[in-house]
């Protein structure tokens, strides 16, 4: 499956979608929905919130499709929209309050529930998934944008409305936490963790 930033759509299909051809719009949606949703889910672990942001992203895509000039792949343009929506949500006062309330609860339960909600990935990557979920949401967003999506520190700082130093410090913090996670040997407990968390529900 191609990354979102690499997804392209034939120009004639895009033209039909702009003109309101529902079949063409459905193809555009189907081609980009999976990767878009995955990107948003990497940043926003809560599925309900991720679905809201995904809906907003795709609606914005079709509203602004006439403005797309084709200078870059459509997926890259869509990725910018998705990341912008996610970071606007993270920067909102409502989310900051909600995040504070969530951080007061036990992180292990959230990790277990997140693993249960999503279809279980291959075992060898489950520990990485859990390690990623264990990060604070801002650090997770920064490390994903930098390491996977290829955003520079300048771009990340601008998206967050902060400085380059902010991006670098968040990235360093995320790396350190991930190293601690792997060094602590928690990956050996992943089977028992899932079984015990199934009792929580």
């Amino acid at each position: 499956m191609a990354r979102l930033g690499d997804i392209t759509i034939p120009p004639e299909l895009l033209q039909k979608a702009v003109q309101g051809d529902e079949a063409a719009q459905a193809v555009v949606y189907t081609s980009t929905a999976g990767a878009t949703f995955a990107l948003i889910r990497r940043i926003i672990s809560n599925r309900a919130v991720a679905e809201d942001l995904f809906q907003e992203t795709m609606m914005t895509l079709f509203e602004r499709l006439p403005e797309f000039r084709g200078e870059a792949p459509l997926g890259a343009w869509l990725r910018r929209i998705a990341v912008s929506k996610c970071l606007m949500y993270l920067r909102s006062p409502w989310h900051r309050v909600r995040l504070q309330l969530e951080n007061e609860s036990e992180p292990e339960i959230h990790q277990g529930l997140s693993a249960l909600i999503t279809p279980a990935p291959p075992v060898e990557s489950l520990d990485v998934e859990r390690a990623l979920l264990s990060l604070p949401v801002t650090a997770r967003a920064v490390i994903w944008l930098h390491e996977v999506e290829g955003y520079s520190h300048e771009e990340i700082g601008r998206l967050f409305g902060r400085t380059v130093s902010f991006s670098k410090s968040q990235l360093a913090r995320a790396h350190q936490k991930l190293r601690e996670w792997f060094e602590s040997g928690q990956d050996r407990q992943l089977c028992t963790s899932i079984q015990s968390n199934s009792k929580v529900l």
């Binding site: 499956m1 809906q55 955003y151």
Partner: protein, 188 residues
């Protein structure tokens, strides 16, 4: 400037890039269209509600401004200009004062005429001041009754000097209180 992720050398980045591209599937095109229609309908309703609230707020502001303007215009004061009073406040002397003279009677008459020209109640009624004014007016009225009755009975004027003097003091006090009320009302 964007960075090619593949050029990132760190092992953490390598692990992250090897994660599955799709965790779980979102809803299909039909569900997307349904949710989009719902969101659009909600947005239209919210916009209409917002517009109606805005119109109501604007109407309320206009009503308040109109009331304020009408109240301001309705406060046209029939009393003599305050400037005249500021430069020529009623000054009274009692008969017992060394400087008392027949002109004091004329000043008392002038103060009474000025008091009579004032509205029965000021625009802004202050409870404490109104009680004082009422008390003074009552005392003056009582003395007037006494003096009238005494003159009818033929009491000598010299015997009524004390009462006259007390009445003049009360009129002086009343004029000062009403003068203060007038100044306060003009300042407001």
């Amino acid at each position: 400037m964007h960075i090619d992720p593949e050029q990132q050398q760190g092992p953490v980045g390598h692990c992250l890039r090897n994660l599955p591209q799709e965790l779980d599937q979102p809803y299909d095109w039909a569900e997307f269209r349904r949710r989009a229609r719902v969101r659009t309908a909600v947005a239209v309703r919210r916009s209409a509600t917002y517009r109606s609230w805005l119109a109501a707020a604007a109407a309320l502001v206009l009503v308040v401004l109109a009331l304020a303007a009408w109240t301001r215009l309705g406060r046209s004061d029939p009393t003599p200009p305050v400037a005249h009073l500021e430069t020529n406040p009623p000054v009274l002397e009692s008969r017992g004062d060394p400087g008392y003279s027949a002109s004091t009677d004329r000043r008392t008459d002038a103060a009474e005429r000025w008091l009579a020209s004032l509205p029965r109640e000021p625009v802004v009624v202050r409870v404490g001041t109104r009680a004082v004014v009422t008390g003074l007016e009552d005392r003056i009225a009582q003395l007037d009754d006494y003096l009238s009755a005494a003159r009818v009975e033929g009491v000598q004027p010299a015997a009524l000097a004390g009462a006259e003097e007390q009445r003049a003091l009360l009129v002086k006090s009343l004029a000062q209180v009403r003068y203060a009320e007038t100044l306060v009302a003009e300042v407001r």
